[in-house]
C-alpha cells in the first residue's frame, strides 16, 4: 500500500464522520470524491482493511455502508467521539441519572417503529410513521406493567426490592406526562419534553425524518441509518441487562457465602 492509499483511507473516514453527523456542507462539497472512495472501499479488499484498521484505531464502529458515506458511531461511551447527554441539549444535562430516562424513551421510540423483530430487517418504507402519542402509549404500558410485576414479585418472594433501588419504570412513573409550564425556567421535565428532545436530536442527526402533513401533528419516519444503528443498540441493551442480572446474582452469592462463613465463625 502506498502513501496515497493511506491518505484516501483517512479521507474516507473524515468525510464519513461529517456524513454521519449530518453535515451537509462538507458532504456536497466533496460528493464526487466520496463516491470514488466508497467505490474503492467496496471493490478493493486491501483498501477496505486499511479503512477498517483506521476506524478501529479511532474507536469508531461501522454501522452501514451507504451510497454517500459510511454510517459510523462511537465504539463505546469512553470513546472520544461518543455522543453524550450534553449533545441532547440543555434539558438533559441537569442531573446525573438523566440517561436512565433517555434509555427507555429511546427504546419506546424503537418499539413504536419496530414492533416485531423482523421489522429491523424490513425496508424502512414499510415501517410507517409514528407520532409522540404512540411513544407515550408504549411508555405508559410498560411502566405500569413493570411496576405491577415488581409489586407482585415482592409479594411472592417475601423479599421486596430494596426501597432505595428505584427501577426505571418507577422513575418514569414519577414524572408527569405533560408539563404545561415547560417554558418557564426550572419548570421541570415531563414525558413529552423528553420525547420531544430526543426526537429532535434524531431528526438533527438524520435518523428520523419529520413530516407535518396536518398542522400541529408532526409525524416521524425512520431512515435506514436509524435502523442499522438501532440494531447495534438493542442488541447491546438486551445483553447489558443479562450482564447486570448475572453480576447481581454473583454479588448476592458472594454476600451469601460471606454471611455463611461469618455464621460459622461466630458459632
Amino acid at each position: 500500500m502506498d502513501k496515497n492509499s493511506f491518505y484516501d483511507a483517512t479521507r474516507l473516514i473524515y468525510l464519513s464522520l461529517a456524513y454521519s453527523s449530518g453535515n451537509k456542507r462538507i458532504g456536497t462539497q466533496n460528493s464526487t470524491e466520496m463516491t470514488e472512495l466508497i467505490q474503492r472501499f467496496q471493490s478493493e479488499s486491501a483498501f477496505r482493511e486499511m479503512v477498517d484498521a483506521g476506524l478501529r484505531g479511532m474507536e469508531l464502529r461501522l454501522l452501514a455502508v451507504a451510497d454517500n458515506g459510511l454510517r459510523l458511531s462511537a465504539r463505546s461511551a469512553d470513546s472520544f467521539f461518543a455522543t453524550t447527554l450534553t449533545d441532547y441539549g440543555k434539558l438533559m444535562a441537569r442531573t446525573d441519572l438523566k440517561a436512565a430516562e433517555v434509555l427507555p424513551v429511546h427504546c419506546a421510540i424503537a418499539s413504536a417503529f419496530f414492533p416485531a423483530e423482523s421489522d429491523l430487517d424490513a425496508p424502512v418504507e414499510d415501517l410507517g410513521a409514528i407520532a409522540v402519542a404512540d411513544v407515550i402509549d408504549i411508555l405508559r404500558r410498560f411502566a405500569r406493567a413493570e411496576v405491577r410485576t415488581e409489586a407482585s414479585r415482592s409479594d411472592d418472594a417475601d423479599d421486596p426490592v430494596h426501597p432505595q433501588v428505584k427501577t426505571v419504570a418507577r422513575r418514569l412513573l414519577e414524572l408527569p406526562e405533560e408539563n404545561p409550564d415547560q417554558r418557564r425556567a426550572g419548570a421541570g421535565s415531563s414525558w413529552v419534553d423528553l420525547i420531544g428532545r430526543i426526537l429532535e436530536h434524531m431528526v438533527e442527526t438524520g435518523y428520523l425524518l419529520a413530516f407535518e402533513e396536518t398542522p400541529g401533528t408532526v409525524e416521524y419516519r425512520p431512515t435506514p441509518a436509524y435502523q442499522s444503528a438501532l440494531r447495534e443498540g438493542i442488541v447491546y441493551s438486551f445483553h447489558a441487562f443479562r450482564d447486570l442480572v448475572s453480576e447481581e446474582q454473583r454479588r448476592q452469592d458472594a454476600a451469601q457465602s460471606v454471611e455463611d462463613e461469618s455464621d460459622v465463625s461466630t458459632q
Binding site: A77, P104, D121, D155, P180, I234
Partner: protein, 557 residues
C-alpha cells in the same frame, strides 16, 4: 352541596370503616371481587399486610390496620393541606378574604368532580374548563358567606386551589408523603397524583384527568375498582331508598354514573391496544374483562334496573310534591345509569370479539432470531435499577448515535474569536462614549535620525558624484561622505544617510532610476566593511554605482 357532604362524610369515616369491616370481610370479598382490583399498582398497597388474624397477636393486627388506614388516609392529605396555604402576594385585596371565606375543601372536591364529569367525552379537562365550571359554584359560596368577590379574585383563588391539587409548585410531580409502616417497622413513602396531566397530542393545552387516587379521594376511601364501586353503590341506593332517604340515593346514583365513566375509559384503552398492537394484550385479561361484563356487569345492571322499577312503583303513592319530584329525578338517574351499564357490559362482552377480529395480526411474519424483539428489550429496560440504567443509557447513546462533533483546539480560531469580540466592542454605541484619561501621558512619536533634508542632501550628492565620475565604487563613495568637509557641511549622520540612499536604490528600482543611478554587483565574493562616524558600521558587498542618463524626471518637472 349534598353530594359533597356525603363524599366528605365517607372520607372521614373511611379509616374506621375499614377497620370495622374486618369481620364481614369474607362476605364482602364474595360480593366484591377484590382480585380484579388490578389497577392498584401502588407497591405499598400491594405489599400492605393481608387481613389475617391467624396469629392472634393484637399488636400485629393493630399495626396492620393502622398502617392500612394511614396509607389510605394519605390520599386526603393534599386536600387537607389546602387550608394551611395562604395568599402571600396580596396584590388585590379580596383574594385573601375570599380564601378565608370559601370552603376550600368543597372547592377541591368540586374540582375533582368537574374533571371526572368532563372526562366523559374527552380524555381530560383543561385548566380553563375546570375553572370556568367551578367559578359559579365558588361565587355562590362566597355570596353565602357574605362576600362580594370580584371575578378576578375568585379566579385567582380557584386557580390556586387547582394548582395545589395538580402540585404545580412541585413541577407537576406526584405528591410524596412519608408514613410509618407498622408491619415492616420502617418508614415508607407513598407517591401519588390526584389529578395528572395526560398527553393526548391534540391541541395545545394540557389535559388533566383524575388518577385512581383522585377517584378514591373523591368517592371516599374505598380504593375499589369501578364495577365493584358500582355494585356497592347499588346496594347503598337500595338501602337508602328503603329508608326513604332519596337525596342520598340520588347522590350515590350520580357516583355510580361516574364509576361507569371510569370503567368506560379503561375499556377504551384496551380496545385501542387491541387495534394497534395486539401482541401486548393478554387474551386472558380480555376474557376476564368479558366475564366481568357478563356476570358482574349484568348483575349490576339488573340490580339497577330493579332499583329503577322499585322507584317507579313507589312513585304513585309518594306523599308530597317535593318528595315526588325527587323520586322522579332518582328514577331518571337510575334509568340513565341502567342504559349506561347495559352499554358498558355489552362493550365488555365485545372485547373478545374485537380481539378475534384483530387476531390475524398475531400471525404476522415471525422473527428471524437475529435480533431480540423490542418488546422484550423494553421489558428488560424497565426493570433495571435507575443507576444501572444510567450507565447502560450512556453506553447506548454512544453506540446508536452518530459520532459527536468534537472541537479541536486551534489558536487561530481563538484569535479570530478575540478579534470578533473586540470588533463587537467597537460598535457604534461604544464609540460614542467619551474616554476619560487618568494619568495620561502624551504619546512619544518616533523621530528618525535620518530626516528628510539629510536624505535629500545625500541623494543630491550621490547623483552629482556619479554624474561627474560616471562610475564609482561604494567604498569610495562612503569615503567621500566621511570626509571632513562633508561631515562638517551636512552633519555627523551624513555617511549613514549616504549608505541608506544607496540601500534604497538597491531595493527600490524606481528610486535608482529617479536619481539616474544603476547599481551593479560585479563580484558577489567581494565584500567591504567601514566604520561610520556616528558609531555604526557598514558591511556589505562592494557595489558599483553607475550613471544612467535619461531617466531623471525630477529635474524635468
Amino acid at each position: 352541596m349534598d353530594r359533597c357532604r356525603v363524599a366528605w362524610g365517607t372520607a372521614s369515616k373511611g379509616p374506621q370503616k375499614i377497620t370495622s369491616t374486618n369481620k364481614i370481610m369474607p362476605i364482602q370479598l364474595d360480593l366484591i371481587n377484590f382480585s380484579t382490583n388490578s389497577e392498584n399498582f401502588e407497591k405499598g398497597q400491594s405489599d400492605g399486610p393481608p387481613v389475617t388474624q391467624t396469629n392472634g397477636a393484637s399488636e400485629t393486627g393493630l399495626a396492620t390496620d393502622v398502617t392500612r388506614a394511614v396509607h389510605s388516609a394519605l390520599i386526603m392529605r393534599p386536600i387537607y393541606e389546602l387550608e394551611t396555604r395562604r395568599f402571600l402576594q396580596t396584590d388585590s385585596d379580596d383574594t385573601s378574604a375570599i380564601w378565608q371565606g370559601l370552603d376550600l375543601m368543597w372547592i377541591a372536591f368540586a374540582v375533582l368532580d368537574t374533571i371526572s364529569e368532563l372526562s366523559e367525552y374527552q380524555l381530560g379537562a383543561t385548566r380553563e374548563e375546570v375553572l370556568e365550571k367551578t367559578h359559579p359554584l365558588a361565587r355562590q359560596q362566597a355570596i353565602a358567606s357574605g362576600l362580594a368577590p370580584t371575578d378576578d379574585g375568585l379566579y385567582k383563588v380557584l386557580g390556586k386551589v387547582f394548582d395545589h391539587l395538580v402540585n404545580r409548585e412541585n413541577r407537576y410531580l406526584p405528591f410524596d408523603y412519608t408514613y410509618f409502616d407498622g408491619t415492616a417497622n420502617r418508614h415508607r413513602s407513598r407517591k401519588f397524583w390526584l389529578i395528572k396531566t395526560v398527553y393526548t397530542g391534540q391541541g395545545q393545552k394540557a389535559l388533566f384527568s383524575l388518577t385512581e387516587e383522585g377517584y378514591t379521594a373523591y368517592f371516599g376511601l374505598h380504593e375499589t375498582s369501578a364495577l365493584d364501586a358500582a355494585a356497592i353503590g347499588n346496594l347503598r341506593i337500595k338501602l337508602l331508598i328503603e329508608r326513604g332517604n332519596v337525596d342520598d340515593a340520588i347522590s350515590v346514583a350520580e357516583g355510580n354514573r361516574k364509576q361507569c365513566i371510569r370503567k368506560a375509559l379503561e375499556i377504551r384503552h384496551i380496545r385501542r391496544l387491541i387495534k394497534r398492537n395486539i401482541r401486548t394484550v393478554d387474551f386472558e385479561q380480555v376474557q376476564a374483562l368479558a366475564e366481568e361484563g357478563i356476570h358482574q356487569g349484568t348483575d349490576i345492571q339488573k340490580e339497577s334496573a330493579r332499583l329503577h322499577n322499585m322507584v317507579i312503583e313507589n312513585l304513585p303513592d309518594s306523599a308530597g310534591e317535593k318528595h315526588g319530584r325527587r323520586l322522579y329525578r332518582l328514577a331518571d338517574l337510575l334509568e340513565g345509569l341502567n342504559h349506561q351499564l347495559m352499554k358498558l357490559s355489552a362493550e365488555l362482552q365485545h372485547l373478545p370479539e374485537d380481539y378475534h377480529s384483530h387476531s390475524h395480526k398475531l400471525f404476522r411474519r415471525r422473527s428471524s432470531g437475529a435480533f431480540p424483539p423490542m418488546e422484550q428489550v423494553m421489558r428488560r429496560v424497565f426493570a433495571i435499577a435507575e443507576a444501572d440504567a444510567a450507565n447502560v443509557g450512556t453506553e447506548f447513546i454512544a453506540r446508536i448515535d452518530p459520532p459527536g462533533q468534537r472541537p479541536i483546539f486551534d489558536p487561530a480560531a481563538v484569535i479570530e474569536a478575540c478579534d470578533r469580540a473586540l470588533e463587537r466592542k467597537n460598535a457604534a454605541e461604544d464609540r460614542r462614549q467619551t474616554v476619560v484619561e487618568v494619568d495620561g501621558a502624551s504619546i512619544e512619536r518616533f523621530v528618525p535620525d535620518l530626516d528628510e533634508t539629510i536624505m535629500e542632501q545625500a541623494f543630491a550628492m550621490l547623483h552629482d558624484t556619479i554624474r561627474d565620475k560616471g562610475e564609482i565604487r561604494l567604498s569610495r563613495l562612503l569615503e567621500r561622505s566621511i570626509s571632513r568637509e562633508a561631515v562638517a557641511e551636512f552633519g555627523v549622520m551624513f555617511p549613514d544617510a549616504m549608505a541608506m540612499a544607496v540601500f534604497q536604490c538597491v531595493v527600490e528600482h524606481r528610486i535608482a532610476r529617479l536619481h539616474q543611478i544603476r547599481v551593479e554587483m560585479p563580484d558577489p565574493e567581494n565584500r567591504m566593511e567601514r566604520h561610520l562616524p556616528a558609531g555604526r558600521k557598514y558591511r556589505g558587498h562592494e557595489l558599483h554605482l553607475q550613471f544612467q542618463p535619461g531617466f531623471r524626471t525630477h529635474e524635468n518637472t
